[in-house]
Amino acid sequence: MAGVVNPSDIREETTGDLTGLGALLQQIVGQPFLFFRETYGDELTIHFGALKEVMSPKLRKRQRGSYVLTLRGSVWKIEGGATPGLYLTGPVAFPPGSTSELKPFPLAAFEQQPPIEPGAIVITAKPFLDTEYGGGIGVYFVFSDRSLIVIRPNPADLILEADPDLPRIADWELFTPHSRYLRVGPGSVWSYTASKRDVPSA
């Protein structure tokens, strides 16, 4: 039996249902990796799919991917395929006083020396319930050049919800060419809604 998912359908905020989330994520399988981009607040974004022009005339970098994965404040690991290397971030990777094996690698360097081969195809995209990190939703991607990306919610958020005057942010997001985006976290909450205001809900 086959099943069908319409990537233009809206999915309002949901708790759990990793099967449904996993089905929506399948749209990125088969898409090529394009590039990494550092953005404000030491956040890394990963671009996939086809190159497209940005909307804003204010931006100097005029192109983005048709799919954009934003890592927000999550912990992540990237394992190079063709070029060996384990790129780590977060409190687990950097416990106090133990950096002898880890060399600093600025985010900007991901743009010039990407550990994933440009053009490598996403062959697996799978969400998982991160029980070690308190029940948030992580995700991993495997590429045709044997590269790997693992994204996990930041465990520090479980201890204390800092900044109560500010909105809580997602653990990761995936923008799609269907004017929809996946917004995952915090916790086990996710949604798939319009990313552009003038697009009517399906």
Binding site: Y40, M55, S56, V75
Partner: protein, 66 residues
């Protein structure tokens, strides 16, 4: 790993200005490009922006005249 407080501040300002998610995604890039080009904020030594500066940047980005 992104710094959550900075990311939350940007989200808060985007909500104030009614940006949709696609616009917010590009606004985050705009803020980074401003810093890269030397147009830095005064919140700290890294050149991050204060809430007031973020609001000003949002007006610049959206073409809103004061």
């Amino acid at each position: 790993m992104g710094r959550k407080r900075d990311l939350k501040q940007v989200d808060a300002v985007c909500r104030e200005f009614g940006m949709d998610a696609d616009t917010e995604l590009e606004f985050r890039d705009y803020l980074h490009e401003c810093k890269e080009s030397g147009d830095r904020g005064t919140a700290n030594d890294r050149g991050d922006f204060t809430m007031g500066e973020l609001r000003q940047k949002a007006r610049e980005f959206l073409g809103i005249e004061e």
